[in-house]
């Protein structure tokens, strides 16, 4: 073996590795205008919208799988794959008929048996689905286009359950796929929606590609969010994952991408200055910031301690720490519900209004018996939202004279530690920070965080009998007035028991190149009606 042999061998090996099996299809110049390049909010790490309920999976799945119903921008469920429905007078038997001509991406027709299998899988994971299963007598296919859901008691929110946009969404898949255990991931992505998933081009963490499904039959109605005619005006949509916001901003300015779902507030001024870029609020339903207190251990097992924190809490401090001086991006929220939606109420939210009274809060805290024990406060530093909130909370607790055990960690660790019910000093916790999509806080159905049924409740395990009573009242409500009344009482009860602490309502921007048109505001990025010129 001599030097030349070694060098030749190395060069050959490098060349082979660089060229082998790594190719992606090149896009011809003319096709570029038919390809929309989109930077999503997060990495599409898996593609099963029932198994994994992250928003990014839901957003991608909305392209590939259609739904029986879809909520429109008024939050009203409208028919989508369904042509008609009938419900008996007792409200216990629902009969649905599918539209004709519906096809899956493999060319096979969408049949009732596919729907039944899809609903069974969805119902095993979705809170509303679980409620339906609990009162289900039978869910059966009557014929190829008709299926029937027979219940033991009325369920007035049936159409909302089937059309809601909250994860997990009741997407319709072929029976063979939908028969997968809901706690195991699917491996076949044949869909029923307007775009096909290009499985061969999927590089998790980097890229996902969707191609127009020529045989999709859109509805004739005008499109509105998940309802109406989902007309796809491009041939191909590429989701390009960019972990670094500065890179995404530069790529948008340079025309290397067309649409960036959620630019961070710090970079928005730069984007606004660029004459080729449009910037606007992306999701009008925004987000509700929060921190949750652990009901199982002192000091927050005493409602007076929880109220003391709320009395001293300044939502403005939290919001300014997060979004800076942009007044359009936040508003105070003396409520647990999303502002601007039909059920929004401020009943009971007085505790968050007006001048903050630290002295009164201190007094109440002392009455609760707090005597300086450490308060374990979990703060994920890798999430800008929780990082900002955590810093403000630490300051707030110190003002109240509390002994803060500030646990700076990452989101993954917070995710597992918050599930621990052990005492704070033994791996448990007293409080952690998070936020909720406004779309999940429009009513009690998808709103896991508002539930206060103790052991079965979300992390922090709040107990509030009155809150739970009003959740049930909302589900039983027959009309909007009854719903409003129930939610008003619910809001009051939740504040009385301090189910959690809302830190304010905040919005975020979306940004796109001006050669792209048709982008609409909504709780997820809607690609129907979006077109692009060269």
């Amino acid at each position: 073996m001599d030097r030349r042999t070694v060098l030749k061998g190395l060069a050959g090996a490098s060349g082979l590795a660089l060229t082998g099996g790594l190719s992606a299809p090149a896009i011809a110049q003319g096709a570029a205008a038919r390809t929309l390049r989109f930077v999503p909010q997060a990495n599409l790490a898996n593609f099963d919208p029932i198994w994994g309920t992250q928003y990014v999976v839901r957003n991608a799945a909305a392209l590939v799988w259609d739904t029986l119903y879809g909520v429109d921008s008024s939050l009203v469920p409208q028919r989508q794959m369904v042509e008609s429905e009938e419900v008996t007078d007792d409200g216990m038997t629902w009969t649905f008929k599918l539209r004709s001509g519906l096809k899956f991406h493999d060319g096979t027709p969408v049949l009732s048996k596919d729907v039944v299998a899809s609903l069974n899988r969805w119902a095993a994971r979705d809170p509303m689905g679980l409620m339906l299963k609990a009162i289900q007598q039978e869910l059966t296919a009557v014929d190829d286009r008709t299926f029937k859901w027979v219940l033991k008691q009325p369920f007035p929110k049936m159409l909302y359950a089937l059309g809601k946009n909250n994860s997990p969404v009741a997407f319709i898949m072929p029976e063979r796929i939908a028969q997968t255990d809901p706690f195991k991931q699917i491996t076949d992505y044949v869909g029923s929606g307007p775009m096909k998933f290009a499985t061969g081009e999927w590089v998790p963490g980097a890229k996902a590609v969707f191609e127009k499904f020529a045989d999709y039959v859109p509805r004739q109605e005008k499109v509105s969010w998940l309802a109406g005619g989902k007309q796809i005006l491009v041939d191909r949509i590429e989701w390009i994952v960019m972990p670094d916001p500065a890179t995404a901003a530069a790529a948008l300015q340079n025309g290397e991408i067309d649409w960036w779902e959620n630019p961070i507030a710090d970079l928005v001024p730069v984007l606004k200055k660029n004459k080729n870029i449009s910037v606007d609020i992306g999701d009008p339903l925004g987000n509700i910031g929060s921190f949750r207190m652990n009901f199982l251990y002192p000091p927050f097992n005493d409602v007076r301690a929880r109220r003391a924190v709320l009395m001293a809490l300044s939502q403005e401090d939290y919001m300014r720490a997060l979004v800076g001086d942009d007044e359009t991006l936040w508003k105070p929220l003396p409520s647990y519900f999303t502002p601007g939606t039909p059920l929004y109420t401020e009943t009971g939210g007085e505790i968050l209004k007006g001048k903050r009274d630290i002295d009164a809060a201190k007094k109440l805290l002392a009455e609760s018996g707090y005597s300086g024990q450490p308060v374990t406060c979990l703060v994920a530093q890798d999430q800008p939202i929780t990082k900002a909130f955590g810093d403000v909370t630490a300051d707030l607790l110190k003002k109240l004279g509390m002994n803060v055990d500030f646990v700076a960690t990452d989101w993954g660790t917070v995710g597992s530690r918050r599930a621990q019910k052990t005492p704070p000093g033994q791996g448990g916790w007293n409080m952690f920070h998070t936020w909720h999509a406004g779309a999940d806080c429009i009513n009690p159905a998808p709103y896991t965080a508002i539930r206060a049924n103790g052991d079965k409740a979300w992390f922090g395990w709040p107990t509030s009998a009155n809150t739970e009573k009003e959740v049930t009242a909302w589900f039983d409500a027959k009309n909007l007035d009854e719903e409003k009344a129930a939610v008003s009482r619910l809001n009051k009860a939740a504040f009385e028991d301090v189910v959690y602490a809302p830190t304010g309502f905040f919005l975020s921007y979306t940004a796109w190149r001006k050669n792209v048109s048709g982008i609409t505001k909504g709780p997820l990025p809607f690609f129907w009606g979006v077109s692009k010129t060269a």
């Binding site: 660089l18 992606a24 790490a45 309920t53 972990p243 993954g412 597992s416 599930a419 999940d440």
Partner: protein, 313 residues
């Protein structure tokens, strides 16, 4: 030589076994739970537990480790918890961009750093030497992401010469492939160039003091011949060593560089896997990196014999 290489390859096995045990144990005791990430923010504790069971994460340490080792021995790195894709497929998808970045960075380093080091040694103590060494200190001190942002701003946004981000496979053409790698390679190469230039200078300074260099000068040999034929060849051993060991520096730097320039390589895969606690992927990548590092060390030893005939195994 061949028997030496074989012995060294066999000796990598216990090293890999220790790395495997170490990585698996570390991940097992690390906080975090992939089932929580999969289930999403709204999932109930029962849902999380069901997912944990379906992934086999509720099994005892020894059983999990045993089944992982058994799969490794059968050439199976396992399946990603999140994507459900084989880890080998995921690594294969990401190998090209990272390898491309490393090859270009390596070439850039050799082409720039070695001549710089040689010139600095030749002009030791002069303004040129100080300028080069000043550049080396500067390059070594600047974080990769700062260099990356500055380069992207100047050459992509302002001058519009090169793209900001992305990767194009070599099969799509040499220039499309190269233009995506130029800025990342410069950003990643800065530290490496600085390091190699300094070592080259130091090694050359020592060699240039030797008697045979004086003899070559006395015989009337040209300056370039003395520097690049006689001196550089004899100074090559420490330079090759640093270039080889610097591969580890490149692997670490690639993590940041790939994020800044949105290159879908192994560095980003590593970060994503760690943040999501995708254990099989982390284990697969660490094993791969360890293997590469061991292999690079072996290559350095082999290259020694090519640059210095006195070294024999």
């Amino acid at each position: 030589m061949l028997s030496y290489i074989l012995r060294r390859v066999v000796a990598t096995l216990p090293v890999m076994a220790i790395v495997a045990l170490f990585v698996f144990s570390l991940l097992y005791i690390a906080p975090g739970d992939p089932a929580v990430v999969i289930a999403g923010d709204q999932a109930s504790p029962e849902d999380v537990e069901r997912i944990r069971q379906s992934l086999g994460l509720d099994r005892p340490f020894l059983i999990q480790f045993g089944s992982w080792v058994w799969r490794i021995l059968h050439g199976d790195l396992g399946t990603s918890i999140f994507t459900n894709l084989p880890v080998s497929t995921m690594i294969g998808q990401r190998l090209g961009p990272t390898l491309s970045l490393m090859v270009i960075t390596l070439l850039l380093t050799i082409v720039v750093a070695v001549p710089l080091g040689v010139v600095a040694a030749w002009k030791a103590g002069s303004l040129i030497d100080r300028a080069i060494m000043g550049f080396a200190v500067f390059g070594f001190s600047l974080p990769v992401f700062v260099v990356g942002y500055v380069l992207a701003y100047v050459f992509a946004l302002e001058l519009e010469w090169l793209p900001v981000q992305g990767y194009t496979p070599l099969t799509d053409g040499f220039w499309p492939w190269l233009q995506n790698l130029i800025l990342p390679a410069i950003a990643l190469g800065c530290v490496y160039i600085a390091l190699v230039a300094r070592i080259t200078r130091a090694a050359m300074l020592e060699v240039l003091q030797q008697d045979y260099i004086r003899t070559a000068k006395a015989k009337g040999m040209g300056q370039s011949g003395i520097l690049f034929i006689h001196a550089l060849k004899n100074a090559a051993v420490p330079i090759v060593t640093v270039i080889g060991l610097g591969i580890a520096l490149l692997i670490g730097g690639a993590v940041v560089t790939e994020s800044v320039f949105a290159i879908p390589g192994l560095g980003r895969l590593t970060i994503d896997a760690i943040l999501r606690r995708d254990y099989p992927v982390i284990q697969g990548i660490v094993l791969l990196f360890s293997f590469v590092y061991v292999l690079v060390n072996l290559m350095i030893d082999v290259i020694y014999t090519l640059v210095d005939p006195r070294i024999r195994y």
